[in-house]
């Protein structure tokens, strides 16, 4: 599965760089991430209890950062495994300073999904991954803006995990004004989560 696109972050490039390399931010911004530890500067390991509606599963994953050119670009390799299957992928991420205080992120990656996830989750894979990429990244952009605001106000940034419903609600609200045809940014961790979450869908019957 190929994933590619771009997105504008509302903050300077260095801030975006710091944000996407900060496991604390990532784990709080993404509900279900139980831990995300920095093993080294290039490697993170984490457990995530992924939940999409009734669907849930415990995944452990590894994230490797390589080809780093701060704050311009890096390559991410992810490897996640859990009861429902596995996700494996590599992506190249590029951050472009747009000169107006925003940062353009371009991303391009290829993702392999296997196991039950792949074999019974196809009906919604595309939809869910897009939807969850959107939700996860909107939240990250918020965290970014909070950091920027906190800095200008000379206070500590508050990074608080929203509840899953708040998370979704906030995203949905933000979404209302957005042009529907635009594509959303991508960070590998988020995509792993998004896809893992997205892929776990099936159902034959109807109604809960």
């Amino acid at each position: 599965m190929e994933i590619a696109g771009e997105y504008v972050f509302h903050g300077p490039r260095e801030e975006v760089w710091d944000l996407v390399r900060d496991p604390d931010v990532l784990s709080t911004a993404l509900p279900g991430a139980q831990k995300l530890e920095k093993v080294s500067d290039q490697e993170y390991v984490g457990d995530m209890n992924i939940r999409v509606g009734p669907v849930s599963g415990l995944f452990s994953g590894k994230l490797l950062v390589s080809n780093e050119v701060p704050p311009e670009s890096y390559t991410l390799t992810v490897d996640g495994k859990g009861g429902p299957g596995f996700v494996k992928g590599t992506g190249d991420v590029q951050l472009v300073d747009q000169g107006d205080g925003t940062t353009l992120m371009k991303y391009e990656g290829d993702m392999q999904i296997g196991g039950t996830l792949a074999s019974v989750g196809q009906r919604m894979l595309d939809t869910v991954s897009r939807s969850l990429i959107r939700q996860g990244l909107e939240t990250l952009d918020k965290a970014l803006q909070e950091r920027v605001a906190a800095r200008s106000e000379g206070r500590e940034a508050k990074v608080e995990a929203p509840t899953e419903t708040e998370f979704a609600a906030a995203v949905a609200k933000d979404m209302a004004g957005e042009a529907l045809s635009s594509r959303w940014l991508w960070i590998a961790v988020v995509v792993v989560i998004a896809i893992v979450r997205g892929a776990v869908i099936l159902t034959s019957g109807r109604g809960g």
Partner: protein, 781 residues
Amino acid sequence: MTKKYLGQRITRNEDPRMLTGQALFVDDVEIPGMLHAAFLRSDYAHARILSIDVSAACNRPGVVAVYTAEDMGDFWKPGPLLVPAPRGIEGAFFHARTQIPMARDKVRHVGEPMAVVIGESRYLAEDALADIVVDLEPLEAVADLERALDPDAPLVHDDMESNLGSFVPQRKGDYEAAREQADLVIQRRIVIDRGAAAAMENRVLVAHWDAKSQEMTIWDTTQAPIPLRNGLAGMLGLAEHQVRVIAPFIGGAFGPKIMMFQPEEVLLPWATMKLNRPIKWIEDRRENFVATTQERGQIHDAESALTKDGHILGVKDVFLHDSGAYDPYGLTVPLNSQNHVMGCYDIPSYYSELKMVFTNKMIVTPVRGAGRPQGIFVIERLLDIAAKELDIDRAELRRRNNLQPDAFPHNHKIIDQAFAEFVIDSGNYPATLARALDMIEYEKFIKEEQPALRAEGRHVGIGVVAFIETTGVGPYEGARVTIEASGKVSVATGVGTQGQGHFTAFAQIVADQLGVDVRDVHVVTGDTAHFHWGTGTFASRGAVVAANAINAAAKGVRVKVLKLASKVLGAPEEELELADGMVRVADIPDQSIGLGELAVLANPMRGAVEPGSEPGLEATDYFGPQYGATANGTHAMILEVDVETMMVEIKRYVVVEDCGTIINPLILEGQVHGGVSLGIGNSYYEQLVYDDNGQLLNGSFMDYLIPRSTDMPPRIEIGHEVTPSPLNPLGTKGAGEAGAIPVPSLFAQAVEDALYDYDLEVLEMPLSPNRLFELCYQKGS
């Protein structure tokens, strides 16, 4: 012999049990103390196994044992090559790489077993699967047939130089010369994708080793109980008579259940001996999609050379056949494809190259049709394209090339799946074609109805496609027929039954031979305790090979009956007749004796059985055909495409089939209906979608679409032609797979005809509305 039952629409003997829930299926077997197995299967299509840690799983309450390949010791070995490669074809080769009981060093397809948990319930065993820790090193997988032959492609089998598992060139005449002479040469690439057999019953197995009696009983959803018994006995170091394999009622099979030894079939008998407790394994539907064999994937580069008046001078076909990760079933499927390309036509020259390719996907073995639909698709598509190019009516083009009724036996002069020259025994192809055209009112449709519909803006198309089916191959089947003291007759044969109505069709044959009521004939199939010799139910052979063996055995009993009755009744044999369960002197109805009474006399409690004779009214006989009988038929359909949505509706469906002598038209029609429904699935609904990494993307009934009642034509109208086969006394030919074979080519032709204004050429199967949309609106994508 009177023909009271043969050819009649006899309702089935087995139905009351099935309809009331009293028929025994394997999962109905309950044995006290029985354990349940669950398999840990690979999520990866290709990966090296670094380690498997089962300790946590072993410690889970309710888990009795967890086994991996390591635990199997010397018992671990690759399965047998079920069908060897044909010999004597110049330039041909075949590399046997058969499936293994559990992956040891590496996994080669998603679903390959890596460990088995045996627990007190299936629920608990599945819980424990999550406790097993497998360390795998993922390898690049190869799923695409052409990619698999790239020099740098990853190797499915490390010990091979490439993924090319087999190469079989066959030639008849001189195609290149024919091509030189031709007015028209058509070249196309044709792609056919995979589908599933998807019997409603998944595979199920119960293995029970009784240490005290030293007997192994295995209930198995197999199409081949006797070979399974023989093989397992050898592997387990037991005498064949210590192993009993029972294939009770089977909930549909359609090919994959002939495969042996499936990994589970090897593991359960082994484990029951180790644990000394009965074990059941029920394949679930998700497993069925990744762990039961599949079929159909091929890519053909085909061409035909024709004269301008539409006579085929020659055909060339170079094709890749997807074998999946192993090739236990040899070349049966691709050889069938190679054979059926010549179909029912007189083709003077033919050159074909079969290349069997290993991929990191589930193993391919026959599925209802077994390579034939692909071969027929190739030739029928080439003919359709030629008809357009030459502006000759499709039906007329077929008529011009048909083998004629006086052409038989016709030798196609290549080697067939039974490794003999492919000889067609009999047939009347122009007759089935003409009848089908007549039934669907072809001329009227083309000349009157279709132009009117097109004028209304509707897209309604017609298709007519002819086909052959090689059936009833050897080596042999056997049967024992016994008249019991009750006057009822019991029949035992080795083939298994998966819904074909054997309990009735076989009973009809015996009832006619012995003059008894068809309901008084009790047939046992698929139990090795009842009959020792045989091969199995495959290749549309039950009604040919087994039925003729049964007929022969029943005749043997008839001879004994007449001999004894002649003595008892004091009348010459030629004056005796068998009817209503009695033997009577033809002119004197009072002078008679019941068969039961006669059976008692034949098995006396005192006195002596005459030297040179046997006790009882019983006979065992066998039948092995000289070569396979070839059935044929023509299908025709009218369908409408909604060009806005690309949804297709089949309006009419006509089948004219010729399977030789008909034993029971009711059952035959049922077989045809079922075959057609699978064919419709193969044409428009069913496709196993794999991604480039060998992951199956639609492994459930939600996404793998089997036709429902509302997807079938309103009625399948059936006409019969009867050209009895000269190869067996009953004159039968097989009919089990026929219904499925021509449907994809028929569907393609009718869709093209319906979409006449879209300049569409269908060179692939299956289609879908989405694919039709792409073909019509997004050309080139």
